[in-house]
Amino acid sequence: MSVLVDKNTRVIVQGLGKTGRFHTDKAIAYGTNMVGAVHPSKAGTIESFEGETDHSGVSGRPDTYAHELPIFGSVEEAVAKTGADTSVLYVPPPFAADAIMEAADAGVRLIIAITEGIPVTDMVMAKRFLEGTDSRLVGPNCPGVITPGECKIGIMPGYIHKPGKIGVVSRSGTLTYEAVYQLTTIGLGQTTAIGIGGDPVNGTNFVDCLQLFNDDPETEGVIMIGEIGGTAEEEAADWVKANMKKPVAGFIAGTTAPPGKRMGHAGAIISGGKGTAADKISAMESAGIVVAPTPTDMGSAMVQALGQE
């Protein structure tokens, strides 16, 4: 078991530029079931991928792959012809929110937006559009979602993951990799790792993911990685306190961040005295979450939370 994506997930990619193509190739090498692409200027053509199999992914495949991806002019057409239920977006920022709404309109169940730099106003509109639809958005400005050994969607390096029992949810891409790598090294592995993104307006949040992991029988513990800005971690801590049946570990980046300065991510800013790392850490600790003092200690914090010391 896992959450959001597994070996049966049928994925299309929106935006097959240089970045989109690079990571689509990596996903195919991993064994992700890529079934099509949407790129209006190349509609009707076929994009070929070939190379060496990434054996950290889906098992039991030959050492090389050759894969042909049909390109469609619209998400609607791609879904109709391929039966895709999930889309990953590498669409450039000015057009990304529209691409999200197009995917929702086409009935895509899971929309994973990798794109960084989407105007917030556009995302406010896209989120409004998603209300009342059955589509779930992950991101934007996120590394994606991976269920190790089954399905890799996004820009994370596949080989650091390993099938296992910990759910990972994070606002930061590279910090997710840190956590995942430590869980792999320790031998705990991951059920699914979800990057929810560093923007102030995003789709799936911490609470959504905690809920999914709480209900997933294979997930035995969860690690949540937050950062300064907003109150999503505090809300997650409240939810954990009231509902979570599994141990949770965590980390918050930005203890040394000065107020009023945007730390790279649009969402990572301490403003009006709100959103400090200290507030988040204390909310998490009071909910029984084991908070790692440094990113290098995330794996051991998880071990501690599991009571396996």
Binding site: V120, T121, V124, M125, P157, G198, E227, G272, T296
Partner: protein
């Protein structure tokens, strides 16, 4: 991105949001020349001389060179002495203020040099109110926040009298609805014509927030004048960085003298950089990891010199630029490169480091920690370069190593 008060008022006026009449001046002569047309047009003998810097608290701030002089000064001389007296006073004030350093609660003790003044008509104020349009992250919508406690910091109101803050959530599909605007206007105690003016003001302001892609518009104080007008006496607008590309007219308003030179250079190379006061320069990919790297430097006993995220799509040129920016800071005693490659490939980083060191030279210790896509290739490039680079297996030992080498 932030702009000056006078620019914010220009933008608001162009969108039908009432603001006082005013003129910007960069010299004493321009300041004096602004007085006569202003007084004649407004019919009010009072003018206000306002320092234009990108920091708040100007009214209560004072000048380093003139400790008795406030950053915003009301000139009443014209009430009895006429325009000539006003001009004389403005001349005296402008010559003191221009080129002097204003220290406010937001500038820090070093203050900011005032290069522009805004000469504004006096307003007969009935009541001071507060109004802002900000993104509410918990609902993913803009909200209007309003309060009768004008002139006070909203954080203070929120802490002491939270029930005095009115909130209206804006559905992006509809904008602020009439009844919502009316509810705010009523809550602010506006009546009759003033109520109608308030509703118009609110509708125009919330529409402008969407049109201009603002992070925040804050009007503090919003004033009700003695003749029932609702007017923005101050205006602070900050624009959302991701949307700036579609607002060239706002980009033109950028005042680079208000920004840190190194941060500007970083922005030119599409790097996210923030200068800090410590001694360990950091180059990291990913904002979260970059913050965590600063944190871990502090954790092992030193202070970070900067936040620097080279981003997901970094090229060798970008890494070189990042290196130059870090090494240009004389406080930097050591550099820690911490890369976990996903979208960013480790060989790209390694090539960038080699190029940068060959171009810029290396006078301080360098510790590199690489992990992720193409990590072996990256390490190989560094090893074969012959550079004096220390490799670290993980973040914490890398941080310990650089702090040890730099002190």
């Amino acid at each position: 991105m932030k702009i000056h008060e006078y620019q914010a008022k220009e933008l608001m006026a162009a969108r039908g949001i009432p603001v006082p009449l005013g003129r910007v001046a960069t010299t004493v002569e321009e300041a004096v020349a602004a007085v006569r047309p202003l007084v004649e047009e407004s019919g009010n003998p009072v003018v206000v001389v306002k320092s234009q810097i990108h920091a708040g608290g100007r009214g209560k701030g004072t000048f380093k060179e003139h400790p008795d002089l406030g950053g915003v000064t009301v000139v009443l001389d014209g009430i009895e002495g006429g325009i000539d007296a006003t001009e004389n006073k403005v001349r005296e004030l402008a010559s003191k203020m221009l080129g002097s350093t204003l220290v406010t609660i937001q500038t820090g003790p070093e203050g900011r040099v005032v290069n522009r003044l805004y000469i504004e008509q006096g307003i007969d104020i009935e009541t001071e109110l507060y109004l802002s349009v900000v993104l509410d992250r918990s609902t993913s919508r803009n909200i209007v926040m309003a309060s009768t406690e004008g002139g006070t910091e909203i954080e203070e109101v929120a802490e002491h009298t939270p029930d005095k803050i009115l909130r209206e959530s804006i559905d992006p599909a509809f904008g602020l609805l009439d009844f919502q605007a009316a509810r705010v206007a009523t809550g602010l105690g506006l009546e009759d014509q003033a109520h109608r003016n308030g509703v118009k003001f609110l509708k125009a302001l919330t529409a402008a927030a969407v049109e201009f892609d603002t992070d925040m518009i804050e009007i503090n104080p919003l004033v009700l004048t003695t003749d029932g007008q609702v007017m923005a006496l101050d205006g602070k607008i900050s624009f959302e960085a991701n949307a700036l590309y579609r607002h060239p007219e706002i980009m033109d308003m950028r005042d680079e003298t208000e920004e840190d030179a190194a941060e500007l250079e970083a922005a030119e190379h599409d790097l996210s950089f923030i200068k800090l006061d410590g001694t360990i320069g950091c180059m990291v990919n990913g904002a979260g990891l970059a913050m965590a790297t600063m944190d871990i430097i502090k954790y092992v006993g030193a202070e970070p010199a900067n936040f620097l995220d080279v981003g997901g799509g970094a090229t060798a040129e970008k890494v070189t630029a990042a290196f130059k920016i870090i090494t240009a800071d004389p406080n930097v005693k050591g550099i820690f490169v911490n890369i976990f490659g996903g979208i960013m490939r480790c060989d790209t980083i390694a090539n960038g480091i080699v190029e940068a060191v060959q171009e810029v030279g290396l006078t301080v210790p360098l510790v590199v920690r690489l992990e992720g896509t193409n990590v072996e290739l990256g390490k190989q490039i560094l090893d074969e370069s012959g550079l004096d680079v220390v490799s670290a297996p993980d973040m914490k030992s890398g941080a310990q190593k650089i702090v040890e080498l730099a002190t």
